[in-house]
């Protein structure tokens, strides 16, 4: 007992110098993100071998600049593919579907490939 009393301050000091590891806390929280029901995925359409002689639709979303870019591209493509033809006038509204609900069908029927420029 005497030995214990004599060494008690030493034990106390050791406890202070080497405190027990702080108690760990584990939180289990629920995930706030929405579960997504993935839609059926679609593959791309087969590419063309060459643009020579092809009907190229130049489309845009009606935001500033897109039409200028297509003008420049049309000039460059004409120079490289003199036999290609170009159609314009297929464009969406800035944030909404095209005014003509059949626009894509008409564009697809009249084109072999398309280039769609986003003006954003």
């Amino acid at each position: 007992m005497n030995v214990l009393i004599r060494f008690l301050p030493v034990f106390a000091l050791m406890v202070n110098l080497f405190p027990a590891a702080a108690a760990q806390t584990t939180l289990e929280v629920l995930n706030p993100m929405g579960v997504i029901d993935p839609p059926k995925t679609y593959g791309l359409s087969p590419r063309v071998a060459d643009l020579a002689g092809k009907r190229i639709a130049l489309m845009h979303n009606n935001k500033p600049g897109a039409s200028n870019l297509l003008d420049a591209l049309e000039t460059l493509l004409k120079a490289r593919y003199p036999g290609a033809s170009f159609s314009r006038g297929y464009q969406t509204q800035p944030v909404q579907p095209p005014k003509d609900p059949d626009m894509y069908k008409k564009a697809a029927a009249a084109s072999d490939v398309f280039i769609f420029a986003m003006g954003d």
């Binding site: 702080a22 108690a23 760990q24 806390t25 584990t26 939180l27 289990e28 929280v29 629920l30 995930n31 706030p32 993100m33 929405g34 579960v35 997504i36 029901d37 993935p38 839609p39 059926k40 995925t41 679609y42 593959g43 791309l44 359409s45 087969p46 590419r47 063309v48 071998a49 060459d50 643009l51 639709a57 489309m59 500033p64 600049g65 897109a66 200028n68 870019l69 003008d71 420049a72 591209l73 000039t75 460059l76 493509l77 490289r80 944030v95 894509y104 069908k105 564009a107 697809a108 084109s111 072999d112 490939v113 398309f114 280039i115 769609f116 420029a117 986003m118 003006g119 954003d120």
Partner: protein, 409 residues
């Protein structure tokens, strides 16, 4: 994507800053492999003004465009794997004590694009169960799908976000109804547009007073827990359930006004000389409702004051004239907010009902009377304001299923 689905190969030209957004949208709309050519953003916005200026960018893009149209498809492009539905189980976070665990949770959530940058309350099962006690509706009920990625908004998912926002269970029926209104309208554009659109969330009926919503001085501001956390709950629920993140698929360039809580308040029915807004929409006075509206940012479509305040003088007629001068668009609607004194002055001038305001403004602007919403907002003194909105993004829904308030049951 419509063209590709119709069998025509194509390429999308997009500014490099929008490339992540474009690819994300392509995946959302079921065509993850769409071919793109990025135009450098640091030049695009400076040089797109004329064909001559933009020509060097077109020259640089020409070969990649030709390659995108002619290089054979990879097997994955031709037949991309069907994405599986991913379940989102609970998350365990361990820290050296509670405060450390909460801090670690906040870091983890932000790193994984869940949150809004302010500290979040941990959505433990117990806290979410307590939130769900605010409604009699089933936790599994689906309220709708949230853009941009169309995550499924169940009652429970909304409750998780409401806990994170710091809302009280008695607010939850209001939050649920705001989300119902959001899902019933067209709010996809607001969630990702570069125009930084935001939401107005207006609460009507007796529940507003019961949960202590501010409807007077400072009604669009902070310091009211109900206003702040109802709006923050809707902000977090739309962002997290819809999987959106700034500069990825939320392209709001300058950030939304009132980005953390939207503009959330109650109509000042006590100082309203007319019938409350929801009554004008066909609901009973004792009903409680939430009206959610997409409005503009810092640009033309945002709210503008048209008189009132504690400095300049005004008249009822000057306020009406100011609104008529700003209501230029015939295709949309206008949200007119009259401060209480203006509403009383208008009554004194013979505008004894909301419909007379609607008819007068319609006569001056050509906007249909039914597309002019009239509310009384703010305190004394206050400001009158006018906001433009699109007709399919202005939706009112009745609150139901409340269990902790007398109203909204």
């Amino acid at each position: 994507m419509q063209m590709e689905k119709l069998g025509v190969p194509g390429v999308l030209l997009v500014s490099s800053q929008f490339l992540t957004d474009a690819r994300s949208a392509a995946a959302d709309w079921a065509m993850p492999g769409i071919r793109t050519v990025a135009i450098p953003s640091d030049k695009w916005y400076r040089f797109r003004g004329t064909m001559d200026e933009v020509r060097p960018l077109a020259e640089a893009a020409l070969d990649p465009i030709i390659k995108a149209l002619t290089a054979p498809l990879t097997a994955q492009e031709a037949k991309p794997p069907q994405q599986a539905k991913v379940e989102l189980p609970p998350i365990k976070i361990t820290g050296a004590g509670y405060a450390d665990a909460v801090e670690k949770m906040n870091e983890l959530f932000l790193k994984n694009h869940m949150g809004d940058g302010l500290p979040l309350v941990p959505p433990t099962r117990e806290a979410v169960d307590a939130m769900l006690k605010g409604t009699s509706r089933s936790r599994d009920e689906v309220i709708g799908k949230i853009p941009m990625k169309f995550g499924i908004a169940t009652v429970e998912k909304i409750a998780i976000n409401a806990v994170m926002a710091g809302a009280k269970p008695e607010y939850f029926p209001v939050i649920l109804t705001a989300m119902e209104a959001f899902c019933a309208g067209e709010f996809w554009h607001m969630m990702g547009s570069s125009g930084s659109f935001t939401l107005i969330i207006m609460v009507n009926g007796p529940i507003a007073k019961e949960i202590d919503m501010n409807s007077e001085i400072g009604f669009l501001g902070d310091c009211w827990r109900a206003n702040s956390t109802i709006g923050r709950s809707v902000r977090l629920a739309t962002r997290n359930i819809g999987h959106t993140w700034p500069a990825e698929n939320d392209m709001a360039l300058v950030g939304r006004p009132s980005a953390h809580t939207f503009f959330t308040f109650a109509e000042n029915e006590a100082m309203n000389p007319w019938e409350p807004y929801h009554v004008s929409m066909g609901y009973k006075k004792e009903d409680s409702t939430v009206t959610v509206t997409k409005v503009g940012s810092y640009f033309g479509a945002s709210g503008q004051t048209v008189g009132g305040g504690a400095v300049a003088t005004w008249t009822a007629q000057s306020i009406l004239d100011g609104m008529a001068g700003l209501a230029k668009s015939k295709g949309g609607g206008y949200y007119t907010w009259f401060h209480p004194e203006a509403a009383q002055a208008l009554v004194d001038a013979g505008f004894t009902s909301r419909s007379k305001i609607q008819e007068w403004l319609s006569g001056k602007t050509g906007v249909l009377p039914r597309n002019i919403s009239v509310a009384v907002t703010g305190g004394v003194p206050g400001y009158s304001m006018i906001w433009g909105y699109e007709l399919d993004s202005h939706v009112t829904k009745k609150i139901r299923g409340a269990t902790l308030t007398r109203a909204g049951r």
